[in-house]
Symmetry: C2
Subunit: 388 residues, 2 copies
């Protein structure tokens, strides 16, 4: 993400070439069925000669393949090219509080292999958890059978610049060097790849942006309700990370200063009022399935618990949206499956927003399933290839 | 502000030339004493021939002047150039709840004329207020005697894309077309200039960035405490405006859901607990001067009022910083002069932030006076010239 107006160096022919190569890759990513060089020239504004040279380079790098010639409805036969589905792929790994996940996504954005392992990681040693995550990822990698360009890792906590998980309160972890541990556990096969670590809520939001069912969605906040609550902020189609990458800690927006103590040191944080465990306890049930069953049956305790959670979510979002000015909220994680009960209360609180008269917020359920964050992790690698 | 990774069009020679011209202007803005073409070549990385051509263009555009040759300590005499202090300047106009202000800032960033008029605008018709603001600006413009490149306007409310002031709750204004009214009142002299309208808290933050005493400050939130409370968010040296330009409505972060009703429709907004009038009422005084005098004398009621306001400010900031991840808070507006009493309580609340163990927030008093917002408004014009 670039936010500089003052340019960082002189523009020369290499800058221009890189810029134009990104244009071609972006055009190919949009044209899912492939595009002829003439079509690429039309959609990018580059000359056909320039497109020709760039495409040759991309083919020799293994990023692009030439498909069989396609006969247009009129004009000469084109020679379509497309992103190479067997080219360099991204591996995603997710370490969350009550599950592990891994998947491989190819250059065209398709999931080529995926696995989720339900396991309570709170009772386990970080090294054992990381070893289990690597074992799961090794299986998924073998199943996909693609060359890996890199590995993206989704973590349920705050990660610093060097990839150290500084705080994962719901896992009970502090200062765990996940990057080094992953490399040790994976022996040779991760060490050579580029490795990126990111907060899981940020990655879930990126997955919604890249692979969700609403391609028009370019500016939104995605709330990820799990045992903890995180959020990913997407602005103009880019993840907004704040000064150090910890933006979106919506779980610790204070909803009620007289509320229950939070492990973060404050009182009445959203997580204490609307996190998965708080919600189940308020509804008097032991699982999401029971909560949904009770709510569907119209049981008062379940409906009340959901309404109270919705009000708390709405208040935290009201404060957050007044600060960051976004108009679309996506409810993800466990909230996606509870959206029909949560949305009315959330929407009602949001109508009090100071700019709401002409920017009423839209509240939507996530269009992705439980694997959003791990798909975002793998997608990070693919997106890096396509934009660099 | 550009946030796109996918480039918007092909890069060509015009793009490169514009980019390089911005580089030269940015280098001249940093070198306040002027710079030789050789120095510009060294600091920008451009060839001396390229710098020579660009400088000639800038001189003929009136943006740059050639000063008398400067003899360096060794080597040949240089021929320094610098930004033209008599070149196109920016006019700033501010319409706030209890004052009007105007100033002219030249290309080198110096204030060439400035006036503030204390007047309660709540009791007045918007057209009369705008007419008074234009009259004030006309005097300031005449005093400066510089050619105007444009006009920046600071407003105490939410402005839409077309420059309409949609909501200014503390002025009691709604849907006032300030841009058109300004042009009508100014007859010919504003109509021809480029006119930009922006929220005053955003402009106060930009003034701190551009003209403040801390050039290292590139990422911060600046709270502007007036009758209303706004905030400007600066990230990587750029104003963060959110999806529609209404980011930073910190005055409407909910601090206490059981607190007093706010005119925005919610309860316990920061503005209700720590705005200028709430603060004076809690301290039982009628002016800031009395509040400062009582606090200096150690009077309990004043100290308690300031501590409560500091706690409320700290809680709103705690929620805001957890969402946007910034590490520096600047207290501006009336809070600047009260900072020594407010900062301990603000800092104590912020220590509960979830990422605080390794990102403790720094709380500072603004280094600018009451004219921060109007300086930001004029600076907007100057900054536009230098970066386009």
């Amino acid at each position: 993400m670039t936010m500089r107006v003052v340019p960082s160096g002189p523009a020369g022919s290499q800058t221009v070439r890189d810029h134009n190569q990104r244009l071609v890759l972006a055009a190919l990513a949009e044209a899912r069925e492939g595009a002829s060089r003439a079509q690429l020239s039309a959609s990018t504004g580059l000359t056909r000669a320039t497109v020709g040279t760039l495409v040759e380079d991309l083919i020799s790098d293994g990023l692009v393949i030439e498909s069989s010639p396609l006969r247009g409805s009129r004009g000469r036969p084109g020679s379509p090219v497309s992103l190479n589905p067997d080219g360099p792929a991204g591996l995603g790994i997710e370490i969350n509080v009550d599950y592990l996940a891994s998947c491989v996504i190819d250059l065209t954005g398709h999931v080529r292999a995926t696995r989720i392992e339900v396991v309570d990681n709170r009772a386990r040693d970080p090294r054992a958890v990381i070893a289990a995550a690597v074992a799961l990822a090794a299986r998924v990698r073998a199943e996909a059978g693609l060359p890996l360009a890199g590995v993206g890792v989704a973590l349920a906590g705050l990660v610093d610049d060097r990839g150290v998980l500084r705080r994962a309160p719901n896992l009970g972890w502090r200062d765990v060097d996940v990057v080094s541990a992953l490399k040790v556990e994976a022996h040779d096969w991760i060490a050579d790849s580029s490795l990126r670590v990111e907060n899981e809520a940020n990655l879930a939001a990126l997955a919604e942006l890249w692979y969700g069912e609403r391609p028009w969605l370019r500016d939104f906040v995605q709330l990820s309700g799990e045992i903890g609550i995180g959020a990913g902020l997407v602005l103009r189609g880019q993840l907004f990370r704040g000064a150090r990458g910890h933006a979106g800690e919506l779980g610790h927006v204070i909803v009620d200063p007289r509320g229950p103590e939070c492990h973060c040191g404050a009182r009445g944080c959203l997580e204490q009022l609307a996190g998965k465990e708080a919600l189940l306890a308020a509804a008097g049930v032991s699982s999401l399935e029971w909560l949904r069953a009770d709510a569907t049956a119209g049981k008062a305790r379940a409906l009340e618990a959901l309404e109270h959670a919705g009000v708390a979510i709405g208040r935290a979002l009201l404060s957050a949206l007044n600060v960051i000015d976004l108009d679309v909220v996506v409810l993800g994680g466990v909230y996606a499956g509870l959206a029909r009960w949560l949305i009315p209360a959330v929407q009602s609180e949001l109508s009090r927003r100071v700019s709401s008269p002409w920017n009423p917020a839209t509240v939507l359920a996530s269009s992705l399933g439980d694997d959003a964050a791990v798909r975002g992790a793998a997608g990070l690698v693919v997106h890096d290839i396509l934009s660099n």
